[in-house]
Symmetry: C2
Subunit: 631 residues, 2 copies
């Protein structure tokens, strides 16, 4: 087996498995065992072949075929005319990290012996999918069956990558799923686009993903310490042991030059993890997880930011210098020697937000857990007061009146001649490569690869943003939102599949036609391979989750904040109704949305009432209660 | 490393590790890597040595010592007179099944680099133990400090074997702890004596132990199927993959003969697992665990019993034939060819009880989970009616009026001449070996190695037993209890350390002096090695848990049933007061007991009221509420 799906990796070492052995058992099972070269994980594949011919079951082959890295069986059969023949081949796969095993090779063979036949396995498979589908089902009336079909395809791929079967394993969600070769299976920030969706469907999967981070917390703390910081600094591209594996050089295929790669300055990966902990907590209400794991993870991330930020006495504000925002087109200032930009708005706002949430989280814990955690982290009340102050004093920069500057100095950059480049190059998604090949750099211009400031409008509703800006004591009125969206939308090349999701989300209420168009493009990302060849390298899991989440959270206007489940539905005209169930605080809620009505029904045997919110008011829904709201 | 602690295993293969390699890193860390021979788990030990001499830190040795299976470092030092020298040696241990690792050898070395110094590690260690101790602390006024000291020793050993650190790992509790060699680390029924205690202290540990069983459920189902049964048949001695590893022959050192070993007919291991699921559910109230894992495990165990039991139309009763009860002295009838005894009272009563609990559990689940589970197991309402019927019709046999026969035919066995054998042999704990050497067998007599019928009185209060017998429609009055206890106590050799715990528990209210004596003996089991050499083979974890649980549950009269936490304290006169905290339904309850009063206080910030029970009545305790009850 060679890893050859990504063309630009083909000249690199792509043999990751070494053979350990192969063989055949007395009962005619064949097996092949390999080992990963670096991590030395053993993997075994075993196979049983049975031929059903009239009354006979034939499992003894006539010949065994052994070749290098290969084992097979050949059967010679006389088949009378008019007789049907069935061949059943059952394959089992085990690895040395599987649970409840003795030795992986023995286990793989034994698993085959314990499986009776295809029908039995099919039945179990069908029941498992039926139950998954009952939790993930989305019934919709649309103008095109394509939407529902692709939605279901995306749910299928999400559940191939993270499912009840992965909850107990030590696995994260790689950006290209479990089988995509691009990004080499490293774990990045894609879970920011995936977990909020899983929270409302199967929250245990989210918890499993957070545990993956929790287990790598000691490594993240060491990484912070090595750079002179406190707390936890998670890597931008996380390897199996949680170590930073982001490249430090990358090849520009346009120019043939190797360029310094500063992407690991995207310290905002820390923010994505903290945001997800909070969202999971809001949806699941799982105080135990927070008490024993979540709070420690959250607070150590917060502590990193308090050591990373610097106080500017003159301004009475805290600043964060030398980072990168989500927009990978800006990794330094024009003419600067050192990489990094200062006061990235996304980073600074999110840091202010997580600082405030940290204090709230500690207050929500049982007293004795709070005390344990404070002692574990040697966290003092003084440090908490400092956090409170910082949460009110993070610095933001504005330009052109109320445009939030992507980072300090963004307003001074040159405008980019979009028309000229579109004419000259056609596809300008990867302007970084184009400009570098011309001896220029995106660092010189007001342009983005993907949403950066606009991520704030994706993650927060305008109500919530308003509260955040108020706490920061920066003026920000409702009309600024469309102006900021307009400003940055028109300066984005959409060099990432995630960017379309974010923009479709933001424009859903103001520029509905454009939003629908971006949504449809995002929906086709993989099935139509819209980037022209990247699907071959692996599915785009974030974009898949994003489109499913557009239909679920965005069109329903679902927000999970302040211990309530908020709705604010607005269906696009192409979708006439949505009907689905979600899980909130371990209760099941049925939701029906039409252009005129929102209808909610809490399951009969819910363990407690559910707090819902609609148009600024919250209300309680009792077990079994049905509520119909006029839109 | 050789496994030589158990004398009778010494002639067996005791080399379980093979060397893979050893080496030294550029920064002077040394490492040694081995692999287990059968399961091929790699284990790495790495070490860093630093010498602190005046202002210098010396970490570069003068010589490296490499021998077969050994690596070391030698330092030559000139130490001026009057100067103090510190040597710090830090060791890390990793294995190939650890989580969040890349490759175990790299990880072991890297872990050393990330540890600063001894003081830092000591501080973390102390905080961790402080927090464990705050959850497990038991303050008591006694007539002897020894009791508290040995109690603490036992808690320490329990937490060495199962702790918050093992929750996420795939490990069970072996009878002799993680380091004892006896029973070779196989997992047996000891958790029946351990988990009820953990439930009230750190319920997550119990959940981890149940997950260990859940992961081995497919194997248990195959085992049942192979013998023609439905559902799950867990092994008496469970190997790493959940396969039966009980010996089929054992050596009688008294006679030098190899004797058939039928212990694997102890199908009641299944009952212990089901009992523990129910107890965990009662204490934790964790509906999610039950919904996704616990109920499936429980119901598949129940289904095994329904296929194992046979209906006797004449009696209109269900019978279970060919098993062994907890008493290992009876593995067949006198003169019988086949092993196994019929209608073991412990087994039959427990089966009736778990059948009733299965129906109750299904009713407590949210509707949609109940539906999923019914579909997963293809469980019909008809099958459930059958379970209900069985739960009322299990057969019990009595003799001598109201003595519950240990099994059908027990009453016909010969009485044993205890005085004669005590005089002849002194220590008669292992009467099985003594009688076999004489050409006789314990199967011929009314005698037990350990509690069997009496296990029922250990697991259930008289109130609960009364309800069980009523449901079974067998007459059983309160006075029968002391008669049964007296009958079987006087016919038990206490060949297991667990037996003393059970008897001490049963006699606590009726024969207080005798109970205290047995408790004190059980307390000394390991620290005084009362079996004369078995402690060397590994601690007796069940007995350790049992003594801690005597002080916690037995002297407090704690029961967790019918969704309430019941108390019925009765301190032995040697203990003047007990004060401790327990966790119940995720709330923390402070308990103070003196001979005159029981005082309960629910933590201030409890999430909900707690339902407590006392003298047949239940009452609600609000967050922060304190309640003083006269005894």
């Amino acid at each position: 087996m060679e890893n050859t799906l990504v063309e630009r990796y083909r000249k690199l070492n792509n043999l990751h498995l070494e053979q350990l052995g192969k063989g055949v058992t007395d009962d005619h099972l064949i097996w092949l065992q390999v080992q990963t070269r670096q991590s030395r994980i053993r993997i075994v594949e075993a196979a049983r072949t049975r031929i059903f011919l009239e009354d006979r079951i034939i499992n003894k082959p006539d010949r065994l075929v052994r070749e290098d890295g290969y084992i097979g069986q050949e059967f010679d059969l006389d088949i009378p005319a008019g007789i049907s023949l069935s061949i059943e081949k059952t394959v089992s796969l085990y690895n040395s990290r599987d649970l409840a095993i003795s030795e992986s090779c023995l286990e793989a063979c034994d698993a085959l012996r314990r499986r009776k036949n295809f029908e039995q396995m099919l039945t179990l498979h069908e029941i498992a999918w039926k139950h998954l589908w009952q939790r993930w089902g989305m019934s919709m009336e649309t103008n095109s069956r394509r939407i529902e079909q692709v939605h279901n395809l995306h749910v299928f791929h999400l559940l191939q990558s993270a499912s009840p079967n992965t909850v107990g394993l030590d696995v994260g969600v790689p950006p290209r799923g479990l089988h995509g070769e691009a990004y080499r299976g490293l774990i990045m920030w894609d879970e920011l686009f995936i977990m909020p969706l899983f929270n409302l469907r199967i929250p245990d999967i989210s918890q499993g993903l957070l545990m993956y981070r929790y287990r790598r917390l000691p490594r993240a703390c060491s990484a912070a310490e090595e750079q002179g910081y406190r707390g936890a600094m998670f890597p931008w591209q996380s390897g199996s042991n949680g170590e930073e594996q982001a490249q430090t050089l990358h090849l520009n295929p346009e120019s043939g030059r190797w360029i310094p790669d500063n992407t690991q300055l995207q310290r905002h990966i820390n923010i994505a993890i903290a945001y997800n902990i909070w969202q999971y907590f809001q949806v699941s209400g799982n105080v135990d997880f927070i008490s024993f794991y979540g709070a420690e993870l959250f607070l150590k991330i917060v502590r990193f930011w308090t050591s990373k930020a610097e106080f500017n006495r003159e301004l009475d504000r805290y600043e964060i210098r030398g980072v990168m925002g989500p927009d990978e087109f800006h990794d330094k200032y024009p003419e600067a020697d050192k990489p990094g930009i200062d006061n990235n708005a996304y980073t600074n706002v999110m840091v202010a937000w997580i600082l405030a949430r940290a204090l709230e989280m500690l207050d929500m814990l049982p007293q004795n857990r709070r005390r344990f955690i404070m002692e574990d982290l040697s966290l003092s009340e003084e440090e908490l007061s400092h956090w409170d102050e910082m949460s009110r004093k993070m610095k933001l920069v504005f330009h052109d009146n109320d445009i939030i500057s992507q980072f300090e100095g963004y307003g001074d950059l040159k405008e980019f001649d979009w028309e000229h480049y579109k004419k000259k190059y056609g596809d300008i998604q990867r302007l970084d490569r184009i400009l570098e090949a011309e001896g220029d750099s995106p660092n010189n211009y007001k342009l983005s690869k993907q949403a950066d400031v606009l991520m704030l409008f994706y993650l927060f509703s305008s109500d919530e943003l308003h509260m955040i800006f108020e706490r920061l004591n920066y003026p920000f009125d409702a009309e600024s939102i469309p102006r900021n969206i307009e400003y940055y939308s028109s300066r984005t090349s959409h060099g990432s599949t995630l960017s379309r999701i974010v923009h479709a989300w933001l424009l859903v209420r103001s520029r509905r036609k454009e939003s629908w168009k971006l949504f449809r493009q995002a929906l086709e990302s993989d099935i139509e391979d819209i980037q022209g060849g990247t699907t071959h390298e692996g599915i785009h899991l974030g974009a898949m989750a994003g489109t499913v989440d557009m239909i679920l959270r965005c069109y329903s206007g679902i927000e999970t904040r302040d211990n309530a489940l908020w709705f604010n539905p607005r269906l696009p005209k192409e979708i006439r109704s949505l009907n689905y169930c979600i899980e909130y605080r371990r209760n099941r809620l049925r939701v029906d949305i039409s252009p005129e009505f929102l209808e909610l029904q809490l399951q009969d045997d819910a363990r407690q009432s559910l707090r819902a919110g609609f148009r600024g008011e919250t209300f309680s829904l009792r077990p079994g209660e049905r509520k119909k709201l006029k839109l």
